[in-house]
Amino acid sequence: MLLIHCPHCREDREEEEYSYSGEAHIVRPLEPEALSDQEWGDYLFFRKNPKGIHHEMWYHAVGCRRYFYATRNTLSYEILETYKVGEQPQVSAQGAAQ
């Protein structure tokens, strides 16, 4: 069971209040029609899925209904930070490795 800090509610809340929404910082192509099937398919389905540091989206579905980002270690499940949409992570895979 995870305790996730909601950057909007500014509280640690139980995992059950949230829903996971996949990898963060994937930007929708501005001109989808300009992309090949290959490029569009990569955007739609292909993911980093790392074992280790992962930047991901969470939705505080039962709380403030805000999406936010988390940097989480997918092996240890440690949540290293949560941050708001529009902000950049302070922890990266390279940074955490050092």
Partner: protein
Amino acid sequence: MAGTYSLAACLAEGASAGAEAAKLAGCGDGRIRFPEPQVEEYPEQPAQALFLVPHTKATSRAPSQFVDMQLDVSASGIELAVREGFKSVEHIKRYTAMGFGTDQGKLGNINGMAILASALGQSIEQTGTTIFRPSYSPTTFGAIAGADVGALFDPERYTAVQRWHQEQGAAFEDVGQWKRPWYFPRGVESMQDAVSRECLAVRNSVGILDASTLGKIDIQGPDAAEFITRMYTNSYLKLAPGKCRYGVMLKEDGMIFDDGVCACIGDNHYLMFTTTGGAAGVLAWLELWQQTEWPDLKVYFTSVTDHWTTATITGPNARKVLAKVCADIDLANDAFQFMDWRDGTVAGVAARIFRISFTGELTYEINVPAHYGRHIWEALIAAGEEFDITPYGTETMHVLRAEKGFIIVGQDTDGSMTPADMNMDWVVGKNKTFSFIGKRSLQRSDSVRENRKQLVGLKTVDGTQVLPEGAQIVFDPEQKIPMSMQGHVTSSYFSSNLGHSIALAVVKGGHGLLGKTVYCPLADGRSIAAEIVSSVFYDPKGERQNAE
């Protein structure tokens, strides 16, 4: 081995523990007030671990030496596993079943692993342990399940009219967490009889449906129209206040995931209807795109599903019923047209009325705040009495919409259907400047492939036969197994209005196969023949919903 072993040390430890306890109880100061007893000390070796009592014979030949008492794992079994080449402690566990009992190895595993280490000629540390798993002590399923069983297993969601439906003896259908009236049997009526009666009532006079479970999302903000237009396949930029439009929503993979009507309430203000099951998902979907992709678009979403009770009155007499309880809206066909909505007063309650239709008949969907739900419902029943207004459930709704060829997302679609597959190209805005969600995927090679499964109607050659929903469709009923399946029946009913059965199906290249005879091979060996026809069985020009 931890612990205190010598007699003198045990006595000293006991004495000081007693003195400490006395101090905590308020007696004494923790000092020992009597001399320690003198005992003879013998020199002792450190305790030695004895994991397996040696026997004069080899373990394999000695009497069985049990290690795991619950599962009769013996020392010779562990040695046999090693002999057969297993080395990992996990393999030994799985080969011998050591530690699988309810003690989870708490009694025997340490001995077993030590015997294994010795058989492998390595240390206990090198051998390692198996992974211990919860629960520490076996715990009953019931204790873990807790109170969330029986009626509390999952919430039953009710509309404000639920008690009325129950009092009328409705049969209910589970739709998501909602309980929805399925049909309203009278007396000893069978389901088919009840549904036939309800269907005929709607087409010939008027019926009433509790449509409160449909998802409803209030949308406000200067960029609301732009945002909605990005989410639906068609455009809402020019939708005027007082008007409604039907829309289809795709996932980014181009497949239909929800549909419904969206109404323009006022400047920068819209009300979006979703399917019953899709309500929460659509709201999260809208929030996802607004919050994470386009935070620059100024628009807010609020769920109002629970706020409104929606009573749908539909049928040629719908206007007459409404006129009896609503005086402040001009109900004339020109003044309040199909796909319009109006604010007014119904049976004394401020109401919002949508003239939209899922039956193909003249229809008014009357929305009031839900605490007036039962009031408005009973008022409409009373007003409709002279027209024998007939409450109907989801089954009749399904039959009536199928007669019109209207799809149900999740029944006629399965997450692999595009609007074009559903013969709904008309709902896709080809000239929209923004590449709406899912648009690019509609041009992928598989989306434009010929021979995709497409929505068609099926009319059985013998009109009394109703195809089973889920029946597979083949061209050649004599073909040997494996047969070439061309599609399947998604919806199928007996239409009392038409006097024959009707079905919707998806068939490979179906749009080009009108008139072709296909077959549904059934489990009992029969094959039912049916003709591919238009998916609109009734009132193909859509005149009835515009009725004067």
